[in-house]
């Protein structure tokens, strides 16, 4: 980027600054697009799951629905409720936005495609997402609305509680790869499923589970969507937000969905790793990365439209009583496992393949069970009467 600008005859300092701004703009554009498209994907998918159609009027298959929503929200009136803390109320959405937006910097889109490969990438990731809590808390507090306040408090309690098991759970992949750099973690895995972090040992499976559950909670998705539980807290912390500021919340929430999917992909599902012979093709690598991320996102949406939500005490209990000890177990277990099999890579491989095969069997059983539902559904209803059919 800078070199192109330098080529245009600009001074180096100017080029640096301009380059940074341009990069940020590109990422922002991507951020908006991803957030928007995901809202459309979620609405269509939820429609599909509920035997509806979902938005299909704007553009092909309603694909441009998110643009319509965005334009509409931008042109809505910007209200600041009476009695609200004006400064905090206006600032809060941007904290949420920055918290999610900055994580895109360290995401490796494929092998070698990364904006800034920090050597503390994962650490940076965990810490920058904490900004979201501040934003949510600020929004809840400043709105001068009791539902918002409750939502904000719930969010703060929930996200802070779940950050601990998630952080501890992520220690397992760090232990295996020996680095905090995202590119490094990705590089320590292979393209084959049993080379993925997920299947490496029983403890990585446990760690994946902890991470996934915790991420759902941090992203405020059902079954952990208590901060904005629609049937309880009306709309939670963003109850009083209108127009553009609400759009920012909306966008960062769905972009967060993508970020969670991407992080899961990078850390546990092998990222954009390719077989050795085509490892140079960055486009394919990007595609693989997006495919895997898409699958994870689909899984999250599927969960969202299937499960009911927890109660606040059950949520806390899950985090502190079950996930936290499990995270410690995973960490120490993995350390022990690595010590025991330090010199025996074949045992490690055998274990990985075994876990992968178990996963396949479980998947088969699950599909079989689900397909029973689909078969039963085919009982006819409202078929035309014999007399009507003859006409």
């Amino acid at each position: 980027m800078e070199s192109i600008l330098l080529g245009l005859g600009l001074e180096e300092a100017t080029a640096q600054i301009l380059g940074a701004i341009l990069k940020a703009l590109i990422v922002l554009l991507f951020f908006v697009t991803v957030g928007g498209v995901l809202t459309w994907v979620e609405r269509r998918l939820s429609g599909f799951m509920q035997s509806r159609l979902g938005p299909n009027r704007v553009g092909p298959q309603g694909f441009l629905q998110w643009i319509a929503d965005g334009v509409k929200l931008v042109f809505k009136e910007d209200l600041v409720p009476d009695g609200a803390d004006r400064v905090l109320f206006r600032l809060a959405p941007y904290f949420c936005l920055i918290g999610v937006f900055c994580t895109l910097v360290v995401l490796p889109w494929g092998s070698g495609i990364i904006i800034a490969d920090l050597n503390v990438g994962l650490f940076y990731f965990i810490s920058i997402t904490s900004l979201v809590v501040i934003g949510v808390l600020m929004a809840g507090w400043s709105s001068n609305n009791k539902w918002s306040l409750l939502g904000g408090m719930r969010a703060a309690a929930q996200i802070v509680s779940y950050e601990i098991p998630v952080g501890l759970g992520l220690l397992v992949p760090i232990l295996i790869s020996g680095t905090l750099s995202m590119q490094g973690i990705m590089a320590s895995q292979g393209w084959l499923p049993w080379d993925w972090m997920l299947f490496k040992s029983p403890f990585t499976v446990l760690s994946f589970f902890i991470f996934f559950v915790g991420s759902l909670a941090e992203a405020n998705r059902i079954p952990f969507d208590l901060p904005e539980a629609e049937s309880e807290l009306v709309s939670g912390y963003c109850t009083e937000y209108t127009g553009f500021r609400y759009a920012v919340f909306f966008l960062s929430e769905w972009a967060n969905l993508f970020v969670v999917g991407a992080l899961t992909t990078v850390v546990y599902l092998g990222g954009g790793n390719l077989p050795g012979m085509i490892s140079g093709l960055w486009v394919v690598s990007l595609l693989v990365f997006f495919l895997k991320t898409g699958l994870v996102v689909f899984l999250i949406i599927w969960i969202r439209w299937t499960l009911p939500r927890f109660r606040i005490d059950q949520l806390m209990k899950l985090s502190w009583k079950y996930l936290l000890p499990a995270a410690f177990l995973a960490f120490f277990g993995q350390a022990l496992w690595m010590l025991l099999t330090w010199k025996l890579p074949l045992v490690q491989l055998a274990m990985a393949v075994l876990i992968f095969l178990t996963f396949l069997v479980l998947l088969y059983l699950f599909i079989k069970r689900v397909s029973v539902n689909i078969k039963e559904q085919k009982t006819s209803v409202n078929s035309p009467l014999p007399a009507e059919a003859g006409k």
Binding site: R57, D69, F75
Partner: protein, 161 residues
Amino acid sequence: MKTLHNSFESDGFVLTSIDHLINLARANSLWYLLFSTACCGIELMQTGGPRADLERFGSAPRAVPRQADLMLVAGTITLKMASRVKVLYDQMAEPRYVISMGSCANSGGLFQASYSVLHGVDRVIPVDVYLPGCPPRPEALLSALIELQNKVKKEKYLRKK
């Protein structure tokens, strides 16, 4: 001279087309407030359900008036409720629209002889589309929504000052 004067006063090509685009976006994203009081509320739910599916038109339900563009007054409004309806309407952000769904919201309907029923929701808030029926069928509600979309598309959003 007069025609020249008029041409300056008219809206101009750029504004018109931007307006057209904005209106297209707004018309296709009328989020409605989940506000059902009586019988029509069930039909509203059915309209949001699989067979009619309001979401096809980009109308998602919202629980909060702040984020809603469209208020579907579904059902009887009593005098006790009337001031609350006004508050709900005031909480919505501009531009906002109201569909008065069913006879009760239009005029008090079956209950207009009663001591506690408001004679039409238009006594407290302005109404854009009146939808008759007791209760209206989902198809009727969809047609009312399309009618409102047509109204939104014809508005002069940027040009109104």
